[in-house]
Symmetry: C2
Subunit: 468 residues, 2 copies
């Protein structure tokens, strides 16, 4: 067992660098034993390091004894090993490995960390493409088995790629906003009052008081604006005690939130958010090309299409498209989830984009703090954004005037005393502002065209799952 016995220079090589130019060189690798089989005086095995694999051969000879062959054949799959050997060019490509032009003729094998002989799932099964073997003769791993044994499941090339790309979403989000003068802030998750009537909120004992988990950082973003931070963003967990067991709901997810003061019109913010998505999509496409390919091999999907600048339709136009396609609905009626999906298809067919903005929602379907349209009380200064027909951002110009906020809350039948501290935030001068919140796991899921949000949350939480 490594207990840091010795400080030594690191001479290990990465599997990914092995190729013909290294032929005849001796290399040292640390990797997992992916598969192995003995065959008389030889052992064949594959080493894996993240998405990279290489074939290895061990044969009885000058430096290799029969005992050693036996020892190696008994090493359990998924064990971590240090392997030394010579890089040898192969005549026929090794189709099953990522390193195809060379193999390793091994002289030494040392077990760094042994895996238990019985694995609850096999990595080869977990990485099998959805397209392969459609008749289902091969074993596939179902989602609960994957999630119950997440540390094994996460080792597949697809999962390695998904979470590298997800880190990329956060990176692109921050870089794009920092470049526009935004400041990152941290918002508390423990709050004293359940927002919006207390539905779907987790509550707990907090010393002598009661506390709740924040369902969104919105109040705090708005307070930062009222405190002159002008443009802010925050990334953090968001909690919803909603008993929804669907492909796109989690009880804990990561929110990418932003809020900004604007000068004249909330479309200044709308443009910033639209451009933000363009930056994210472009960044993912250009900096995660390999990750996208890796995921597509297991879960095929159409490439994500977007326009620059993004397409922006009014709600009215969206409803008109649906009506033209035969959907019966009122102009100010809320969009049902199936209608959202359908509108996404119509938009894709007409404009060839998987991302678009729907602006000027009916006032009646938005929260009380949404700024009504200045000319027509039917509409509001609010918007949703969609990826592949699913909502991934909801936002609006917020009411920044305390008196008007009271008026609108009363119109919604909300008792003023329950939101007094929210209202008070706007009593000492607040610039007009707008913003929105994005669900990280949804962006990753929809960008990659995956079918379930549990594929894009490393340790997902839903009403039935709180482990691992």
């Amino acid at each position: 067992m490594n207990r840091s016995q010795e400080i030594r220079p690191i001479e290990h090589n990465e599997i990914s660098v092995l190729n013909k130019t290294m032929a005849e060189k001796t290399v040292l690798l640390r990797a997992r034993l992916h598969t192995s089989r003995g065959k008389g005086k030889q052992a064949f095995f594959v080493l894996r390091n993240r998405q990279h694999t290489v074939q290895c051969v061990l044969a009885v000879g000058d430096n290799v004894s029969k005992q050693m062959i036996k020892f190696v054949c008994n090493i359990t799959k998924e064990s971590i090993v240090d392997v030394q050997g010579k890089v040898v060019e192969v005549e026929q490509k090794v189709e099953a490995c990522s390193v195809q032009d060379v193999e390793l003729h091994v002289t030494d094998v040392f077990v760094v960390s042994a895996a238990s002989p019985r694995l609850p799932l096999q990595i080869e099964d977990a990485m099998r493409p959805d397209t392969e073997d459609p008749e289902g003769l091969h074993i596939k791993v179902n989602q609960d088995t994957r999630l119950d044994n997440r540390i094994l499941d996460l080792r597949t090339p697809t999962n390695q790629a998904i979470y590298r790309l997800q880190a990329g979403v956060c990176h692109q989000f921050r870089e794009a906003l920092k470049a526009k003068g935004f400041t990152e802030i941290m918002c508390p998750k423990l709050i004293s009052a359940a927002s919006e009537g207390g539905a779907n909120v987790f509550g707990m004992k907090y010393f002598e008081k009661e506390a709740f988990l924040a369902q969104s950082p919105q109040l705090y973003k708005q307070m930062a604006i009222a405190s002159d931070f002008e443009k802010v963003f925050t990334i953090g967990p968001v909690f919803r005690a909603e008993n929804s067991n669907t492909h796109r709901h989690l009880t804990e997810f990561v929110g990418l939130d932003l809020e900004m003061a604007f000068t004249h019109h909330y479309h200044e913010a709308l443009k910033v958010i639209g451009d933000l998505f363009t930056s994210i999509f472009r960044g993912l496409r250009d900096e995660h090309t390999g990750d996208i390919e890796t995921v597509n091999k297991q879960y095929p999907a159409e490439p994500f299409k977007f326009l620059d600048p993004p397409l922006c339709l009014s709600y009215k136009e969206g409803v008109a498209m649906l009506k033209e396609a035969g959907i019966e609905m009122e102009e100010t009626e809320d969009l049902s989830t199936p209608n959202e999906k359908f509108l996404g298809k119509l938009v894709k067919a007409k404009y060839d984009t998987d991302f678009y903005i729907l602006d000027k929602y009916p006032l009646a379907v938005r929260p009380f703090y949404t700024m009504p349209d200045p000319e027509n009380p039917k509409w509001s200064n609010s918007y949703d954004m969609f990826m592949r027909g699913e909502e991934i951002l909801s936002g609006a110009q917020r009411i920044h005037d305390a008196d008007f906020l009271v008026e609108r809350a009363k119109a919604h039948g909300i008792p003023i005393d329950t939101i007094q501290s929210y209202i008070d935030s706007f009593k000492y001068g607040c610039p007009p502002h707008a913003g929105g919140g994005i669900g990280l796991e949804r962006v990753t899921m929809l960008y990659l065209g995956l079918d379930n949000i549990r594929k894009t949350s490393m340790f997902p939480r839903d009403p039935k799952r709180l482990t691992p």
Copy 2:
């Protein structure tokens, strides 16, 4: 009220750009009315935008009526106004403002958002330096008043600077680790079991089950390592239900956590973490020079000193320094908080650094999952790091072998069934690894030499405070 009536180009100027070269030009500003006073046919007022202030003069004349003077004198402090005027060079520097060479001769004033006439605290009081008026003849604002009225308090130049610098800590942390091949991950905050015996943990009802708030992302970082992510970091809230009412404890704070697989020795990780701090300190010094100066004006402090590479002492050496200075203690006794502080002073005097690493802690004072020293069971492969004599990182090589983990848990008297899922994470092969966790608010506090962690948490949470 701005309800986005009109899309217009933004022609507003920033206060910060005003100077002599703009003399005689007409400019348009949006800012807060910081102070104002009328004097016969004139009104004098100061506009403020974040840390920038400019003096304005309004005088009865061709374009300005007596009514307008009256109107402006009645605008409440902290209101947001649009002001148009001519930039005029002044003979004598305006000492009270950040713009000192010019003032604004105003022609138009428009109220964008009016503040309530009674402010619970005055910004001039909240921004008064600790050094000014030591006899206390002027009003100062106490901490609870500040925190109760945080949206006003956060408008002071000092607070604007503190939170810009704090965003810089996160930025430097991420950039330094990304450059070394780390991947950002997201760890769940809702967990199914209270870690380490359930002390100091917030619990809540979770549908039909019970859930707890994570006290650290450590298990999840380690699972990511066992899942081949190799080097990971995560930034997120950390919760401690500890009834500590001190200058440095919060019930919710932001953890900057990292974990990495190493090849031979945990000092590979120690070096990465040490260099990370050097990057953070250098980044803050070079990219937040103005912010540091601003904070120091209100809260004077010695500049933060650091060495490159950082100083690393063994625990044994640290204890020897304390003993030499007259402290009586055993070599393997834990460091009390006063002794930590005192050692920091001794280190500063001897090595002229405010940051140092203390390596190889006594095994007995560390958690069960800490890897013991390979040669002497008295010591362990663990370390703390200090800023100005206060601990800001605790870390170690973790035990990566399931059997040995069981052995060590038993030695600590921990019932194995309570930590079975933690142990199981290491059953399928796990590389040797080490890491640590940093408290964001503490880094900001100690870097700036501030006296209370509530100064570096935008909306602090402690046993007595859950609002705003």
